[in-house]
């Protein structure tokens, strides 16, 4: 691959332009649906659905899922965030296709192996999934959307997420730099 092609294939939007566009998308969500964006909530819907499918009674004995079932009457998959996250997959795919970034690969620093990258990706995903339930939302739903509506909790979660990642960056530097 020639250098010029490589640069073109990884060309990204100016981050400030991207930020304004992201803000307008978030504003549209608030104007139309009266709520912000989210991501982990869609995972929760799938988890709730699967638990219900395997054992309907289990939901009743699990307070966390029971509370969720109560606030989402009917099918938990018929939720705003599930439709939104399906859209994210489509939108991400379209952007990647237009920019020539569609490629099956494990992305990692040349200093570490694919295997190490995948182990850390799995561990990171588990922690993020767990933390998003404890913290009632992830970077999208709690931090970004919360900050835009000036939620105190949103600002606190944002500072806790980024503060912790900065504080631990030294210990995981080999993975990234």
């Amino acid at each position: 691959m020639s250098t010029s092609k490589e640069i073109r294939s990884t060309k990204y939007l100016n981050p400030y332009v991207g930020g304004v566009l992201l803000g307008l998308v978030l504003l549209s969500a608030n104007f139309i649906a009266g709520r912000g964006l989210g991501a982990s909530g869609a995972v929760k819907s799938v988890v709730a659905t699967s638990i219900r499918a395997v054992n309907k009674e289990a939901v009743g004995t699990m307070p966390f899922m029971a509370e969720y079932a109560e606030s989402h009457s009917g099918n938990p998959m018929k939720s705003w965030l599930v439709f939104e996250m399906l859209g994210v997959l489509v939108g991400g795919f379209i952007s990647g296709a237009l920019a020539g970034r569609l490629k099956l690969k494990v992305e990692h620093s040349p200093k570490i192996t694919s295997r190490r990258r995948l182990i850390f990706a799995l561990a990171g995903g588990i922690l993020f999934g767990f933390g998003s339930q404890l913290g009632r939302g992830c970077t999208s739903g709690s931090a970004l959307s919360g900050m835009a509506v000036l939620s105190l909790g949103g600002f606190i979660t944002m500072m806790a997420i980024f503060g912790t990642a900065f504080a631990l960056a030294f210990f995981f530097r080999k993975n990234w730099i």
Binding site: P15, Y16, G19, L22, G23, L24, V25, L27, S28, N30, F31, A33, G34, G36, A39, S40, M62, W80, F83, L86, G87, V88, I94, S95, G96, A97, R101, L102, V106, E107, P110, L118, A121, L122, A123, G124, G125, I126, L127, F128, G129, F130, S132, Q133, L134, G135, R136, C138, V149, S151, G153, G154, I156, A160, I161, T164, A165, A169, F172, W176
Partner: protein
């Protein structure tokens, strides 16, 4: 007028259609900004790529300003907008756990779906981890329930908590963001970035 769905100006199903379309735009913006790459995302924590900081804060501020002005003009009833509740303990501890997941995994949930959509296998594995984490929380909820519900403060706005008007707090947030952007631009020049 707004918000449309809570004001019943559009039906539930139309709202779901908009959810999908908003998701498409969300995914498109994230991917085109480079959020499908864990190495780009993690860059903020080492100073070599501050795209996360720039996009994230510009996005939050754009929406905040939009809401404040639309509220001022009477285009949207801000009292009907969902404001995330504040459970102090779980907001902090949940955030700490998520922060650890971020630096280890290089993604957050939304960005991992984006990465998975363009074929990043590490992102797909991260998404798998998300599911395990959510199952883990659901099945062990009894252990965390106290923590999960501790120190509930209602739905306070940060501006109220600081005794400021929304607009004045917004101005301060913009100034803080501009200062952080200046540091970010400096850091990106100082710390070398490999081609990736």
């Amino acid at each position: 007028m707004g918000p449309l769905a809570p004001n019943e100006l559009i039906s539930e199903n139309t709202n779901f259609l908009f959810a999908f379309l908003i998701g498409v735009a969300f995914g498109f913006v994230l991917e085109s900004s480079g959020f499908s790459s864990s190495r780009k995302l993690a860059g903020i924590f080492y100073g070599y790529d501050a795209v996360v900081l720039k996009v994230f804060f510009t996005g939050a501020i754009t929406c905040m300003l939009g809401l404040l002005f639309m509220g001022l003009f009477g285009w949207i009833d801000l009292d009907m907008i969902y404001v995330n509740p504040t459970y102090l303990t779980s907001a902090i501890i949940g955030g700490v756990v998520m922060g650890a997941g971020f630096i280890m995994g290089g993604f957050c949930p939304g960005t991992s779906f984006c990465g998975a959509a363009i074929g990043k296998i590490d992102a797909m594995v991260f998404v798998g981890g998300l599911f395990l984490g959510v199952y883990g929380f659901a099945f062990t909820y009894g252990w965390w329930e106290k923590l999960y519900l501790a120190n509930y403060l209602g739905e306070p706005k940060i501006s109220q908590s600081l005794g400021l008007s929304d607009g004045f707090f917004g101005l301060i947030l913009i100034l803080i963001a501009l200062a952080m952007f200046a540091v970010a631009e400096w850091a990106e020049k100082k710390f070398p970035r490999e081609a990736y």
